[in-house]
């Protein structure tokens, strides 16, 4: 099996090309209990699976979520099955990402 060495990618540069209408102060996705991320979730898959890198692993084991760049795919909710720790909704109508091409 060929294991590629993957490049370090700054996804923010990619997201910068996209258009968003952020619903300030009303994030559509929330971590239900931050303590569970910190103390019970070893893999923290959301921190590398989220295609917009909205979930960040902090040095102390905590995970923070900023939904501004969210692409509304749903992955973070689906992969968090062991802990069901993601409260996931679509943004309010008209908010969130706005694809010109899709």
């Amino acid at each position: 099996m060929s294991t590629a060495t993957f490049p370090i990618v700054n996804v923010e540069e990619k997201l910068f090309q996209n258009r968003y209408r952020v619903d300030h102060g009303r994030p559509h996705i929330q971590i239900k209990d931050a303590r569970i991320c910190q103390s019970q979730c070893e893999n923290k898959a959301c921190t590398f699976v989220c295609p917009a890198s909205c979930y960040k692993a902090e040095g102390n084991g905590a995970v923070t979520l900023i939904t501004d760049g969210c692409l509304e795919c749903g992955s973070c909710r689906i992969i968090c099955t062991e802990h069901e720790n993601v409260a996931w909704e679509y943004p309010r109508g008209g908010h969130g990402v706005l694809f010109k091409f899709g």
Binding site: V49, F101, G102
Partner: protein, 434 residues
């Protein structure tokens, strides 16, 4: 006053548009609700449009639909980390009208389709998210939107709300999606002059090429890459099963995978100089036949990705979405004409109709595929490398005789998989696609 329609359609993707269009054409009162600023603004596709499903509703769609290029050549590539072995099929038959497949830009296509829905007489409301279904006992009687006075009612609600299928899940019609039943795909659109695209891909004006790829690019995961030619842009993307991303030993991010793919020596020259103007991600329901949930109940039907109607083997989704949306609408139209109540017993006619259409026949044909590929990652790892090594061995002229080379190739296959393993794989593959 209680606002009531014959039908409410949630979502303005291909499934919702097909449903709303069919209902409106039949003269029914239709409310279609879309959460995006405009139809298409939330939607992502490769994107190949298959003419047939659309033609059944709008025969003259070619006159004004935003089509990029008609596809005249399909390339299937099997990649190792620095090479590929490919099979290309190009035919002048694909250059005769009416064309069968086109590349499209999804957001623009959905906008166009929605204009047809409005022309047909449906009321289309955007920038509005449906939060819940409204139930009267067991019966779905309407939807609750995130606007003031956002409750609207109808005889039937068609859920064409896409792969996450949030509304049906909230209502308890089915459970959470399994990570093994969806692929996570990321893609970019890269702009470059029309002439550059035509030169690089050896095509004329309006002609298009599709490249589908498996192998080293997915870092051992079950998945595929794709590169499509639009008029003045290329679409490049890669998608793998979400369960594989989740358990990735290298903790590989989808965007890192895409970036790595763009640097592959066989791909980089094709996309060089392209200006990246958008980066998207979306899930694709790839669980196939066995993952299709219950799609009809009292006062509701599910169409498109929300019902898992995707043929992952042939990369068909939008055509299944359009077909299921249309058939759901027709089911309602017929039941209503017959004066039947919109109960589960009546609407069960919808999945029955699908069973007799290409939608369920194709999904049934490939019903074992997802499982077989999940449990046999060698199709995405070992074999691509072996095939590429074999090609390099045979094509390198170095004074070694061909017979000896053949032996070396055969022995590399045997060493990697063993004879029983190879026969087993051939059998599994045959069983999956037969």
């Amino acid at each position: 006053m209680k606002e009531k329609f014959d039908a409410i359609v949630v979502g303005a993707g291909p499934a919702g548009n097909a449903a709303a269009y069919t209902l409106a054409k039949a003269g029914l009162s239709v409310l279609q609700i879309e959460r995006g600023e405009y139809p298409g603004s939330k939607n992502v596709q490769g994107a190949i449009l298959y003419s047939d499903a659309l033609e059944k509703m709008i025969p003259d769609f070619r006159e004004d639909a935003p089509l990029e290029r008609h596809v005249i050549e399909q390339r299937q590539w099997v990649l190792s980390k620095d090479s590929y072995v490919g099979a290309h099929y190009r035919s002048d038959a694909f250059n005769h009208e009416p064309y069968n497949r086109y590349t499209i830009i999804r957001a623009q296509f959905d906008k166009w389709f929605s204009s047809k829905v409005r022309e047909a007489g449906a009321l289309v409301i955007c920038e509005t998210t449906v939060d819940h279904l409204i139930m009267d006992g067991e019966q779905v009687v309407g939807v609750q939107c995130d606007r003031e006075h956002g409750d609207v009612y109808a005889d039937v609600v068609i859920l064409a709300d896409g792969v996450n299928s949030v509304l049906a899940r909230k209502a308890g019609f089915h459970g959470e999606i399994e990570a093994a039943n969806v692929a996570l795909a990321v893609k970019e659109i890269l702009f470059m002059p029309e002439e550059t695209i035509q030169e690089r891909f050896n095509i004329g004006e309006e002609e298009g090429v599709v490249i589908e790829m498996i192998g080293s690019i997915t870092d051992g995961m079950m998945g595929t890459g794709f590169l499509y030619t639009n008029k003045e842009s290329l679409t490049i993307g890669v998608g793998c099963m979400l369960s594989d991303f989740k358990t990735s030993p290298n903790r590989t991010s989808p965007y890192a995978m895409l970036e790595q793919m763009k640097r592959h020596p066989s791909i980089a020259p094709l996309i060089a100089g392209g200006e990246m103007k958008e980066y998207c991600a979306h899930l694709i329901p790839e669980g196939g036949y066995r993952a299709v949930p219950k799609v009809a109940g009292n006062g509701w039907m599910i169409a498109g990705d929300s019902g898992g109607f995707v043929n992952a083997v042939h990369r068909e989704g939008s055509n299944l979405a359009m077909t299921t949306g249309r058939v759901a609408a027709e089911t309602y139209i017929e039941a209503r004409a017959a004066g039947k109540p919109m109960t589960e017993a009546t609407l069960r006619a919808y999945p029955e109709k699908l069973k007799n259409s290409f939608v369920m026949k194709d999904l049934h044909k490939y019903r074992d595929m997802p499982q077989i590929f999940h449990h046999n990652k060698q199709f995405f790892t070992t074999y691509p490398d072996l095939v590429n090594d074999a090609a390099r061995t045979m094509l390198t002229v170095d004074g070694v005789d061909k017979k000896t080379k053949e032996k070396a190739v055969m022995s590399s296959f045997r060493k990697a998989r063993g004879l029983p393993g190879m026969f087993g794989d051939a059998f599994k593959f045959w069983r999956a696609v037969r």
